[in-house]
Subunit: 336 residues, 2 copies
């Protein structure tokens, strides 16, 4: 399954509709070899997120990829029930998938990440598209983690764009600011994919119809989930469409798309109890001079993309349909 | 001096090069009748700011306008010496003005504001272009102040633009976040003119040359001060030019220019000790749908202007030269 140019990936997610899109994108990308997936509470609880992930893997013919349950609660406080108004009560827009055959991995998400980092020293790519609780836990388990992985791509935060859960905070970061602060304080290469990029790249109804018309259960299920997601975003954008938070981060981590504006800057996470709690405070004061170098900065903040993401996403997702036809022949699955 | 269409103004400032431009703009505007000026520590100490203000009034032939010294220290902590690297050690770019004939007013800035509000009930416009220490003090002195004034225009903060003193905080607000929090919590009409607007409207060297060539001491002195200011901004913009923070707020308060994008939204000030301290947390989540109404919001945040500000500013400042020729005939002044 691994091609010469593919990279081993650990995915940390809270599946979630856009997480489902991101996972499907990774599975469809020959450059990505997903070695393990951890679930964390965010859009849904870690347990439900893990279940949704298993279901999707089964549907896509990748049930061999291990899925571990991670942290249920953030570092401070308790999980507050997720975002059923955005993702549906079951996290995937009330779409029913098959009952998975595979069991959950006998390790926590953090343990899985540390294990994979040791198994693929210097080459593992971490893609975190939920709250950063598991990643912070892994940093505690293995302080050498930053040196063991190639880098981490994080969907989260807002730099110059408004937040989505408060005026300035984005949900992934705001759901566990203390964990995020630990992750941004670690000495590793971070690519942050904030709302600045993800709210500016929208999937339209025409794209959804392309997925529905693919005649294959994976894009079809994603298209059905997006129907739910679109209804939430209609309140924000005034039309049936959606932002593409997690798949955009996946595509950047894989290299399927490139950033056009992505300065390497200092980022701090607000862990106070003030109005900025959960904000990613990105130092973009160099904006007016094309971002002069900031010594010591390790975080690349993606502010704009090179090209239009939606057609690329649809193309890759439709290719998944073709590549999994063989695997599906032996799987008895039926999306609602 | 008051024309039928003019409005009484109280100006609160920390003069300051761009404060000097704002003051000159008000003096040149027939719609503005400046009834009193309070000084606050910011770019320079309150005492130096008051002195600079008196000097400028004398130079402009308006020595009759009373100037009161306001707060030296912010609500929390002590004045930290201002911004000599931006405005020069004397606050006005090392330009030497005459020794003023007028004395300081026998009241504090906050007392002056309260007095003027009572003298002009419902019509006084407050223009605050320094830290908000004096305004917060006036709210304590007279809790009815919000109902007594027509409204307040504040230069300060950053909404979606980066900050200028930290990654997310602008100097006026960051120099006294506690005072700013009091001012934004009061129940009055606020127009906030943040860095989003002021950093996008730049005065160029050609404009400065127009001021220097006016053959009149006021624009000439302003042009000389701007030489100093431009050198600071060259580090930000890569060329000799400057943002126009305070005069832009003055022009909006007077009505000389209009805002093109100015949603009425909730604004909170970060008074924590976290990385967001001093930030104006503006709720701009409605960005994607042209800012739906926010019930209870009282602050209009100016994000973009209608038209080009620099030519307007220069035109108004040059008109000051003409209108003060008579007054100058009797004043013995000589800018360096």
């Amino acid at each position: 399954m691994t091609t010469p140019t593919s990279h081993p990936f650990y995915l940390d997610c809270d599946t979630g509709i856009d997480d489902a899109l991101a996972l499907a994108y990774l599975l469809a990308s020959p450059q990505a070899d997903v070695r393990g997936i951890g679930a964390v509470s965010g859009n849904v609880s870690a347990a439900v997120g893990a279940r949704n992930t298993l279901d999707l893997l089964q549907l896509a013919g990748h049930a061999h990829i291990p899925v571990a349950v991670g942290a249920h609660d953030p570092q401070a406080g308790a999980f507050r029930g997720g975002a059923p108004h955005v993702h549906g009560a079951n996290g995937i827009g009330e779409v029913s998938l098959s009952t998975p055959a595979a069991d959950l991995a006998p390790e926590t998400a953090a343990e899985m990440l540390v294990r994979l980092a040791h198994e693929h020293p210097g080459t593992l790519r971490v893609l975190a598209i939920g709250p950063l609780t598991n990643i912070a836990e892994a940093l505690l388990l293995e302080p050498e983690l930053p040196r063991l992985v190639e880098g981490i791509t994080i969907m989260g935060g807002a730099a110059l764009a408004p937040g989505n859960i408060t005026a300035v905070a984005e949900a992934n970061i705001a759901n566990d600011p203390e964990a995020a602060a630990d992750v941004f304080a670690a000495d590793w290469n971070i690519t942050l994919v904030p709302l600045d990029a993800t709210m500016a790249n929208v999937l339209e109804e025409s794209h959804r119809q392309e997925l529905l018309a693919a005649g294959h259960p994976v894009p079809q299920a994603l298209g059905e989930m997006l129907g739910y997601y679109f209804r939430f975003y209609e309140g924000l954008f005034g039309r049936a469409c959606s932002a593409m938070h997690d798949p955009l981060a996946a595509a950047l981590a894989v290299g399927g798309i490139k950033a056009a504006v992505a300065p390497m800057v200092h980022v701090a996470v607000d862990t106070t109890d003030g109005p900025g709690r959960g904000q990613t405070v990105c130092d973009l004061r160099g904006l007016y001079l094309d971002y002069p170098e900031q010594p010591g900065a390790r975080c690349r903040v993606v502010l704009a993309l090179d090209g239009d993401f939606a057609p690329h996403l649809v193309e890759v997702l439709l290719s998944l349909a073709e590549s999994t036809t063989a695997a599906l022949a032996s799987a008895a699955t039926s999306p609602a």
